[in-house]
């Protein structure tokens, strides 16, 4: 069993029960583990056990589906471009995997969308969908940077992400990362499904993506193709 979950089950603190309940509302694997525990011998704090015995797991499944739909909808607001580049099955798959990771509970990102992007970026790269992975990353960084520009970017701790936080000569805050893809289309907009298909058909080439927070509080995204 996941050690975090085990800790929540064994702790008799009300805060742990609240955290456990919140997990149950989102995570099917957590619900399965808890359901199995009720018929087994795994140790559990007495009040927590009484609370868990009162749960209707069939209704909980319906609640989880509703919350997943809601989460997909809200993430879609932060990922308008990425969402249009994915079919609904891929969106659902990524969000389902996100709620099952510690990232969903520990908030490594500066915003929930950035935490999602940290997970989705790695999954999409493993599936060799690096263009889409980098678009998700761009929108995730944009959300995190817009939410808390003074906080450290979580990408700096992520292996292979090569994320840099820099101060510009004009005293503005900026972040940048490399990509093998042109992530803004030829009209300087985030890619649409048709422009994305065109961009992906081009040969990969080194680009630097930078986000700069200007003095008006707006963010400028720059996509620089580097000469090699």
């Amino acid at each position: 069993m996941d050690p975090d979950l085990q800790h929540l089950l064994q702790s008799d603190a009300p805060a742990s029960r609240t955290a456990l309940y919140l997990r149950l509302l989102y995570s099917p694997s957590c619900a399965r583990a808890v359901h199995a525990l009720l018929g087994g011998t795994e140790s559990c704090a007495p009040q927590t056990l009484a609370f868990l015995k009162s749960i209707d797991f069939e209704r909980l499944g319906l609640e989880q589906k509703a919350r997943l739909r809601n989460l997909m909808y809200h993430l879609g607001e932060a990922f308008p471009c990425s969402w249009r580049l994915m079919d609904v099955d891929l969106r659902r798959d990524l969000v389902e995997r996100f709620v099952e990771t510690p990232s969903f509970w520990r908030f490594p990102g500066r915003s929930l969308p950035e935490s999602f992007a940290l997970v989705a970026w790695q999954i999409l790269r493993e599936r060799q969908r690096s263009f889409l992975a980098d678009v998700v990353r761009l929108e995730g960084v944009l959300s995190g940077f817009a939410t808390a520009p003074s906080k450290a970017a979580p990408w700096q701790n992520l292996a292979g992400a090569d994320h840099e936080c820099v101060a510009t000569t004009a005293g503005e805050t900026a972040e940048r990362f490399p990509s093998q893809w042109q992530l803004l289309d030829d009209d300087s907009q985030l890619p649409t499904p048709s422009s994305a298909a065109e961009l992906m058909a081009r040969a990969p080439a080194p680009h630097r993506i930078s986000l700069t927070l200007d003095h008006d509080g707006d963010i400028e995204i720059a996509c620089v193709r580097l000469a090699t």
């Binding site: 915003s111 944009l142 817009a146 939410t147 300087s188 400028e220 580097l226």
Partner: protein, 48 residues
């Protein structure tokens, strides 16, 4: 000494070459439009 300076110069030129921009595309995003989920609520409040 001179050889070392030449090497440094070559290295600097190489680095400048690597970082030279061939094409730059820019887009501006209003931050009051994008950002965290759920309006002013924190992410944790939104989840609950």
């Amino acid at each position: 000494m001179e050889k070392k300076q030449d090497q440094n110069q070559n290295q600097n030129q190489n680095e400048q070459k690597i970082e030279r921009a061939e094409r730059v595309l820019k887009m501006k995003v209003k931050t009051n439009v994008r950002g965290g989920l759920g309006g002013n609520a924190s992410d944790k409040e939104w989840m609950e």
